[in-house]
Structure formats: structure tokens, C-alpha cells
């Protein structure tokens, strides 16, 4: 499957089926972050259930220093 992750085109192995799988693949599961799938904010409790689809636009954002 191929998706756009934070603006970058990436290929994912077939084993990755959900948002949670994606986060684990990148070792992000314990980070404080917010996930958007095709402009829809995904509730953290739903990471396990939310299926990834080919061509999905995923944004993973977090808090950084700012004024």
C-alpha cells in the first residue's frame, strides 16, 4: 500500500493495516501526537480500528516550541 505521510509519499508493507500498525511501524506509539486521516482527526482510542487505505493522506503532528 502507498500513502502520503506528512506530505511524503511512502510505501508500506502489507502487514500494516490500521493507524496503530502505522504508528508501531515508525516506533511512535508512545509519543504525544495527533493523527489526521484525509483531514479527519482520529480519536486516539480509535487507532486500533481505523483502517488505512491506499492513497490515504495521513498527518501526524505534535507540539513543538513556539510563542
Amino acid at each position: 500500500m502507498s500513502i502520503r505521510l506528512n506530505g511524503e509519499h511512502i510505501e508500506l508493507p502489507d502487514s500494516i493495516k490500521t493507524i496503530e500498525d502505522l504508528l508501531q511501524h515508525f516506533h511512535l506509539q508512545n509519543k504525544m501526537m495527533i493523527v489526521e486521516q484525509n483531514r479527519e482527526i482520529i480519536d486516539q482510542k480509535a487507532f486500533k480500528l481505523k483502517k488505512l487505505n491506499n492513497d490515504d493522506h495521513i498527518e501526524i503532528v505534535h507540539f513543538v516550541g513556539g510563542g
Binding site: N6, E36, V61, H62, F63, G65, G66, G67
Partner: protein
């Protein structure tokens, strides 16, 4: 006591978290400032570097109220999207609405800011818009229902201090929501002046993070904000054109 929406704070200094040299200095500066409110920006995570440290992981976030901003937004729509993302973190429902309308001055776009506030209030956010020192806009936003107003003292990061103290005082004297002076503060004197003019609080970042010694400056800003506020509550003397002696005029015969 500073009250914003439903929350109350002892400290009247809000600290930005951008541009510190390293997390250790930043942590010490946050501590020295005595702040209870920290601002943040919302950005894409570098997913290819999961081990990159994040300041939020280094502090006890239960001790602080997080005030994310919508910096980077140029339209109301972008600001609302950023605000929703920030709220989805589950860490905060306050948002500093920052919609920049001009890249050179970084001055906020009043119309897009107003529109963003309107939508975010409907969605139940605690809304703090960053605006120019525009008294009428401040009042319109107050009528809309925002929880505090954050007029800039001078352009972001410029350190020029309060360019229009008259407008600032017009706001603090007539508004019923907190006026928090944001942006442009350069020195402790500026922070004290803002408080003397009746601001309920001051938000600053570069003045501390860019100082030669950020930790000392954080402490100086804490003291300046407290001094300015205390002075306001104490009530300063009127200015006069002529001298008024401080020593008594009676008993002067010894030098006659």
C-alpha cells in the same frame, strides 16, 4: 489572581517555548519564570526520527496549562484546523488564535482572526486571540465572547517594547476580559510597563529565550511582572510640573 475562562492562575507571566538554545536551559528558565502557562506550536512530527526529544516529555505537564497557538495559519480555516488538532491531543482546550496577515511585520489579520474566533467559540474552545493594538477590534472580539485579548506591544520578536501605550491603556480601562500583552516585549522594564498600564498578564518568548542568560532573564521578567502589578494596585502618585519637597519645611532655623 488571573482568570482566563474557567481557570485561575497565580502567575501573570505566560512563557513561550520557542527558540531556546537547549532543553536544559529552557527547563531552568521555565522554572525561574514561575509561569503556569506555556505556549506551543503545532507542527508535523518527523516520523523518521522517533527518538528526537520533545520539550513536553521533559517537563511535568500536569503543573502547567498548555496554550497551543495557531502560528503558521494565514486564514481562519487554517487556524481552526490547527486548533482542532491541538485540542485532539486531549491536553488542553485553550487556543491562542494567531492568523498572520503580513509576512514582513508578522502582524495579525484582523478579519481572519475574528472569523476563526467565531468558529472556535462555537466549538467550545477557550479562545485567546492575538491582535494588533486595535481598541475597536478588541471590543468587537469581547462582544463575540473571547476569553482574553492578546494585543501585541510591537512586532513579534522585535523587542521594541510598547509602541502605543495609549491604545493599550484604553483597552485595559474599558474591557472586562483579561488583556494579555503579547509580542514585542524586550526588557523587564517593558513587562513592568505593560502591567502598570493595567494588563492582566504578559506573554513573552524571545525576550527570555534570546537573552544572553535566559534563566536570569526569566527571573527578571517574573519580578518585573510582579512589580508592575503591585505598583498598579498600590496606585502611583500624580505627575507634577514642579518639585514638591520630601523633607519637612518646619525646623529650618538651624541653617538660617
Amino acid at each position: 489572581m488571573l482568570k482566563i475562562g474557567k481557570k485561575s492562575f497565580q502567575s501573570r507571566l505566560l512563557l513561550g517555548t520557542g527558540k531556546f538554545e537547549n532543553f536544559d536551559i529552557q527547563k531552568q528558565a521555565v522554572e525561574a519564570s514561575g509561569t503556569e502557562i506555556l505556549t506551543f506550536a503545532v507542527r508535523r512530527m518527523n516520523v523518521f526520527e522517533p527518538k528526537a526529544p520533545n520539550f513536553l516529555e521533559m517537563i511535568d505537564i500536569d503543573r502547567y496549562t498548555l496554550l497551543p497557538n495557531t502560528a503558521g495559519a494565514a486564514t481562519a480555516e487554517e487556524a481552526v484546523r490547527t486548533a482542532r488538532l491541538a485540542k485532539a491531543s486531549g491536553l488542553c482546550d485553550m487556543i491562542k488564535v494567531e492568523v498572520i496577515g503580513d509576512d514582513r511585520s508578522l502582524l495579525p489579520d484582523p478579519i481572519e482572526t475574528y472569523k476563526a474566533c467565531e468558529e472556535l467559540l462555537k466549538e467550545g474552545f477557550t479562545v485567546l486571540p492575538y491582535i494588533s493594538d486595535d481598541v475597536v477590534l478588541a471590543k468587537r472580539l469581547e462582544s463575540l465572547g473571547v476569553h482574553a485579548i492578546m494585543p501585541g506591544a510591537s512586532p513579534i520578536g522585535s523587542g521594541q517594547g510598547i509602541l502605543n501605550p495609549v491604545n493599550l491603556q484604553l483597552m485595559t480601562e474599558t474591557m472586562n476580559i483579561p488583556v494579555i500583552v503579547d509580542a514585542g516585549i524586550g526588557s523587564p522594564a517593558d513587562a513592568a510597563q505593560a502591567m502598570s498600564l493595567g494588563a492582566e498578564a504578559v506573554l513573552l518568548n524571545t525576550a527570555v529565550s534570546g537573552a544572553d542568560n535566559p534563566v536570569k532573564m526569566a527571573k527578571a521578567m517574573k519580578m518585573a511582572v510582579e512589580a508592575g502589578r503591585l505598583g498598579l494596585e498600590a496606585g502611583r502618585i500624580d505627575k507634577r510640573s514642579y518639585a514638591v519637597p520630601s523633607s519637612p519645611l518646619e525646623g529650618l532655623s538651624i541653617i538660617e
